[in-house]
């Protein structure tokens, strides 16, 4: 099996096992209702995690994701409730702002040769600070559009609801998979993660790709903010605290190598779903503290990093080849 597939295979197996065990204990967990809630409750995390996947594949990290989500929710609330704009217009503005923000971070990372860790850490403080300046308090959003969105869903067999935001996440994942695996941009992202020197020598436009990667990540964080805004019908500067870390966890658990170059967007989806499964289990159980989610995720993360070490430090198996004579 391809080396980059092995961690993903492990994640998928663990997810399947965990789900089966959970279903044995709580048979009602096996239903489209629960599945629909999985998607809805983790939609914002999933959308942000797709962007994070690209960043990590390229060998970088984006710590500003949670702050950008928080900022976006506040910006949308302010534009809708105070400026009276239609939510769709507010969404467009918020996405544009997030995209610019990401482009600026990408440019700083490439042209100033500052590690992405530092630049996005600064970005995190900036976005969180700007959100608090806009409004330190939570702003509730009351608008016909929000009500309409929350009422529309696709009814799945078995009574499960595929909500608009669940659908957004699935679309973003489909888009991410195509972008990563079937476009030149995707190839360039993997190339950067493999070896920046080689990539440059092979003609990868390093500057443009770097800027685009962080633009993509911030735009998707902005979209995650839109989803979060629809999910909670509110804007709050302290919302989505630490979501960047959940996203990193989902990406790594999904089999992407933290040092870049190896991984699949589809893996991140399983990573997100695994986190959702743990949360849902805790809800079903009812006696466990929700902090157990963090503990389980921590354990899984540790296990996966160990697993990746094993897979990638093991001597590569040399393929057989035929020399034609």
């Amino acid at each position: 099996m391809n080396r980059s597939l092995r961690p993903l295979f492990a994640t998928a197996t663990i997810f399947a096992l965990a789900y089966v065990l959970a279903v044995i204990q709580f048979p009602t967990m096996f239903s489209t209702r629960v599945f629909g809630n999985f998607l809805t409750d983790n939609a914002f995390l999933g959308v942000a995690a797709v962007g994070m996947t690209f960043v990590i594949l390229s060998g970088g990290i984006d710590l500003s994701v949670g702050a950008v989500i928080g900022f976006t929710t506040v910006l949308i609330a302010v534009l809708v409730m105070w400026a009276g704009l239609h939510p769709l217009v507010a969404f467009a503005i918020a996405l544009a702002v997030a995209a610019l923000f990401g482009a600026a971070m990408g440019a700083a990372i490439h042209y100033l040769r500052v590690p992405s860790f530092i630049v996005t850490l600064a970005g995190m403080f900036l976005a969180r600070g700007a959100a608090s300046v806009l409004s330190p308090d939570s702003i509730g959003i009351k608008h016909g559009f929000y009500t309409a969105v929350s009422k529309s869903y696709i009814l799945m067999p078995g009574g499960g609801r595929l909500t608009v935001i669940g659908l957004i996440m699935l679309t973003v994942f489909a888009f991410g998979i195509l972008l990563a695996h079937r476009t030149r941009f995707g190839s360039c992202v993997y190339a950067l993660g493999g070896s920046e020197t080689s990539a440059a020598l092979m003609g990868v436009p390093v500057a443009r790709t770097t800027v685009l990667i962080y633009t993509l990540s911030s735009t998707l964080a902005g979209l995650a903010g839109v989803v979060f805004s629809l999910y909670t019908s509110a804007g709050y500067s302290l919302s989505a605290l630490g979501v960047e870390l959940d996203a990193i966890a989902a990406v790594v658990i999904g089999g992407t190598l933290l040092t870049g170059g190896y991984g699949l967007v589809a893996g991140t989806f399983i990573g997100v779903m695994l986190q959702g499964l743990v949360q849902t289990y805790i809800v079903f159980d009812g006696t466990l503290s929700s902090w157990w989610t963090k503990i389980v995720i921590g354990g899984l993360l540790f296990m996966f990093i160990l697993l990746q070490r094993l897979v990638f430090t093991a001597a590569p198996r040399r393929r057989k080849l035929a020399w034609k004579t």
Partner: protein, 508 residues
Amino acid sequence: MQAAEGRPVLEARGIVKIFGQHTALGGVDFELKPGEVHALLGENGAGKSTLIKILTGAYQPDHGEMLLDGVPVSFRDPLQAQGHGIGTVYQEVNLLPNRSVAENLFLGRQPTRFGLIRRREIEARARRLLADYGLEIDVRADLSDYSVAVQQIVAIARAVELSGKVLVLDEPTASLDRNEVERLFDVVRKLKARGLGIVFITHFLGQVFELCDRVTILRNGRKIATQSLQGLSATDVVRMMLGKDVAFDHHPTGVADARRGAARVTFRNLGRKGSVAPVTLSVHEGEVVGVAGLLGSGRTEVARLMFGVDAADSGEILVDGTPVTIRNPAQAVAAGFGFCPEDRKIDGIFGELSVRENIIIALQAKLGWFRALNREDQVELAGRHAEALDIRAASPDMPVKLLSGGNQQKVILARWLAIDPSFLILDEPTRGIDVGAHAEIVRTINRLREDGLALFAISSELEEVVAYSNRVVVMRDREMVAELSGAAVAPDAIVQAIAETPAPEAQP
């Protein structure tokens, strides 16, 4: 095997490149004809890699011009050179280990439909392309799944596809086995027949004679000769490469008079697979054993094995007749070994630290964390050694990076002398220092020998080796092939031993 006739495809005239105060290339001419394999030879510091970097656009020359097909060109970066038809394949393959073979071949020019890459198309084309190179492999597998030889050929295929006029092969065979080298040579010959001009850089003389039509030899930033290999012998080539540039005092009497003390260290069958064939050697008190051989012959590798930088997988080490275990440098230091590595800027000197700190650091490491040397001891120690070796620094608290190369080298020597070693390994002790300091280092080595130290000194400069060695061992193709002593320690004899044509690659 004859040089193709006709107009050169690539020509460089009067190339000058200066780094700071060091002239890496002082007006070098180079000419490559289509359909020839042209070897570029030279020892470390000869300017070989600088010239290659200029030809391939990684550096820009300070003076001189380059002509491609008779038209003057200048390259901003390797990418532009590639676009003009000059492709390069490096020893460490500059491809993407994490991507498939097909993707590595087509990255940056994948055929797309509606913005989506046509993967099947790429794979089919990659298969067809590699078939031309005699390779049938699964092109969907990661590049890192394959051996270096296959990766090299993929890199060559990509370079030829993208460039197609000139192919520069920078030590492509360094990590290949004999069979793989054969395969690579077949590919090179095919490309030659297609009319490509190929520049071939290697340390293996046998391969030069086997594959190449002409040779250009560089030494100390100057071109020594460009000649057809027909009618040249290996000895001629080695002589031109090593030459005789530096003249300084000989100490033949000192060397001859040195009485052999007891064997200080003995290495029995010390070796490491894929690195150095087992070496057996004793070094006595008051003796310098010199090591001669071309770059890449395994000189440095032997030193690294002795000092435990690389773990040996065979053999044993005896110090004063007692077996010791040396699997890492700390154990080597504990056994009384010292090691001045080849590239002092990378491996030796802590540029930001002061002269004093650089001198005491090995002793401190030997003493351990909990027995810190106090300030007075440090000052005394540093002062004593600085004086003994005549280190010229304004103050012992001056950062080492501000000193000249010769003085830096002496600081490293002082560092090891501070631990009072019984056996000292010097790898290229005079690299990159000026002629005056050069002679002084040689004098210092001679004095250390007279003081009873056992030394193992590696050098590319034959005159230098002769000046301080009691015995000389010669390395070739990662093997110790000769040991010269007494009157045989002379430049001519050493050249002869280095050049003695390697067995299977022998050329008429």
